[in-house]
């Protein structure tokens, strides 16, 4: 038996799927084992991602042929720096969110659907892992489908009317997006005869002049498809409702990870499958850049007028996914590294903020920002963590939000676009305008004891957000290894 680390990526995906399939049976017959099974699979995911990252960093990227069939015939997984980076991000945040969720979900979900929630969560994680590692467009589409359905389901699983409504909206738009992705994939297959990203990259320059419209329309479909799923600006309409209505751990994962995985898929398709010359002729990246600038401004401005805290965070996500796309569409070394870094950093920040909001809702039932006056006295640690997240969103040095802004701004300046820097700064200011009042109101200006009913906050929930808060500070002060790793990633892609 020869099980070396090269099997690990596929073992991750397969084991997560296996756990997901087992979960309903386990939940029906041995309820107490269901939660440990999820935690164990996620912990395995996190640990093996860590191990893979170390292995890839040490030995270099490698490919894995499923079924033993080499690329043009079979499906290939490419475990490069990008893939392990994404795997690590998803697994760690996913683990923390579900550890937190064990408490929160018992409180918010019906008993009989908890098992299904775990199943869907594991399916979501497996599909994200699959999207990260696969090097085949159709395989990617399959995983995109899985993640789309399971993401819809973990929104609508809560017993409320808004959840159904939001989830339906999401389902319709997301299916539209999947359709676009499938069409574009089919078009590329039609004109090249390949689905493998590497082969596409080889063949496309040769057929560019024969089938210009096909390439153009496939680009358009990919932008729309991944744009809808990642909530890029004019296609974001589903996001605020969906992320607001979902249970807090779901919101954290959806805002923190799920929209990012599509951004990463976008990166894979656009910078790895399409040859770079295409973007000189077709200004699709310019359009994406333009849209991401609009997203940044729009998300920040609309977030300012929100009253519901989760809605505000959701709109803020629209702005932040704008940063990610901004970095990718600039296509410079530093800019793409900045976009990737922001995937990681924003995953941390936004999931922490959503989880903190979840604690607030869990223990006080307050959702409206206006009612949060004096909360800092009652929930000092939660609001302290929230403050760290807010500062990171604004981009205060010492937090990881600053590092990604720095990297993105530098990337924009590298390409001689100072106006992008101005946009980033403007949005930071807007972030400050909507995050800071919450923090100030929570801590200062309270006379006497505020009249709030505070339920007990379970330790697990508190520790998970404190851990993320610590991560925010840590990667704000010591991002050097991560950046060095991303440098390698970007050099490999571009």
């Amino acid at each position: 038996m020869n099980l070396n680390y090269e099997h690990l990526p596929v073992i991750i995906v397969a084991l997560l799927l296996l756990a997901a399939f087992l979960e309903p049976i386990v939940y029906r017959h041995k309820k107490s084992w269901a939660a440990p099974l999820v935690i164990a699979s996620m912990a395995f995911f996190a640990l093996s991602s860590l191990y893979l990252m170390a292995a890839v960093n040490y030995h270099g990227p490698f490919n894995y042929y499923l079924g033993g069939w080499a690329p043009p015939f079979g499906i290939e997984l490419e475990i490069d720096y990008l893939a392990v980076f994404l795997l690590l991000t998803f697994s760690v945040i996913g683990l923390i969110a579900i550890v937190y969720g064990l408490q929160d979900l018992k409180h918010g979900l019906k008993d009989e659907v908890l098992g299904w929630y775990f199943t869907l969560y594991l399916l979501l994680m497996a599909s994200m892992a699959g999207i990260s590692v696969t090097n085949d467009l159709f395989n990617m589409y399959v995983f995109v489908e899985i993640s789309a359905i399971s993401a819809c389901a973990i929104i609508s699983i809560k017993e409320s009317r808004e959840c159904i409504e939001a989830s339906l909206k999401y389902l319709i738009l997301s299916t539209l997006g999947s359709g676009c992705i499938l069409l574009a994939t089919a078009m590329l297959y039609m004109i090249t005869g390949h689905l493998n990203i590497g082969y596409l990259n080889d063949v496309l320059p040769r057929v560019m002049s024969h089938y210009p419209n096909n390439i153009l329309i496939s680009l358009g479909f990919f932008v729309v498809g991944y744009g809808v799923k990642a909530a890029l600006f004019p296609l974001h309409v589903w996001l605020p409702d969906a992320h607001t209505a979902a249970p807090s751990p779901s919101s954290a994962v959806l805002s923190g990870l799920v929209i990012k995985v599509y951004a990463a898929a976008f990166l894979k398709v656009f910078l790895k499958a399409y040859p770079r010359e295409i973007f000189l002729e077709i200004p699709v990246m310019e359009i994406v850049l333009f849209l991401s600038v609009l997203a940044i401004l729009y998300g920040s401005i609309v977030a300012m007028v929100q009253e519901d805290i989760k809605k505000m965070l959701a709109y803020s996500s629209i702005a932040q996914i704008g940063y990610v796309f901004l970095g990718f569409s600039l296509m410079g070394q530093r800019a793409v590294a900045g976009g990737l870094l922001h995937i990681f950093n924003h995953a941390m920040m936004k999931s922490m903020l959503f989880l903190a909001a979840g604690i607030i809702i869990y223990s006080t039932g307050i959702r409206r920002i206006r009612d949060m006056k004096g909360l800092g006295v009652k929930l000092p640690l939660t609001m302290g963590a929230f403050t760290i997240g807010a500062l990171s969103m604004v981009g205060i040095p010492g937090t990881n939000g600053f590092i990604s802004k720095w990297q993105l701004a530098l990337g924009a300046l590298d390409l001689g676009r100072p106006i992008i820097v101005v946009v980033i700064l403007l949005s930071s200011l807007l972030n400050c305008l909507y995050y800071m009042p919450i923090v100030i109101n929570a801590f200062f200006g309270v006379k006497g004891e505020p009249e709030l009913e505070i339920g007990k906050v379970p330790g697990v929930m508190l520790y998970s957000i404190l851990f993320l808060g610590f991560g925010i500070i840590f990667f704000g002060i010591y991002p050097a290894p991560l950046l060095a790793f991303l440098q390698k990633t970007v050099t490999a892609i571009l």
Binding site: P24, P72, F73, T119, L120, N139, I146, N214
Partner: protein, 115 residues
């Protein structure tokens, strides 16, 4: 294939404006029709440009096609080439599709139980 990026952006902004912010009215209907016309035109132009369906000189008729047709039996032992492709060459996709079904069941059941 001269696409002016400014025009494209203008169309995008206009489209998003129409779809998300313009109240339902006759104007909106007309604009939507125009947008659909543009998209339809583009798609038809694309289809017109596609390689002829089934022609032997098509790009998909490459080494992959050759191998799937001629070596499937030897490679997989299945005389049905489609089965060879979906359950052997690209079995991982099929695993994904099975999972899609499972996900759909999970989603439907959880929703039925939750509400």
């Amino acid at each position: 294939m001269e696409v002016n990026s400014l025009t494209a952006m203008a169309i995008l902004v206009l489209a998003s404006y129409i779809f998300f912010y313009l109240p339902a009215s006759r104007l909106r209907g007309v604009l939507v029709l125009i947008m659909l016309g543009i998209i339809g035109y583009a798609l038809v132009a694309t289809v017109a440009e596609m390689p002829t369906f089934g022609a032997s000189a098509n790009p998909p008729h490459n080494e992959v096609y050759q191998r799937y047709l001629h070596q499937a039996v030897e490679d997989t032992g299945a005389i049905n080439a489609i089965a060879a492709i979906i359950t052997d060459y690209r079995a991982f996709d099929t695993l994904g599709e099975v999972t899609v079904l499972f996900t759909a069941i999970a989603a439907a059941l959880s929703n039925l139980k939750a509400h």
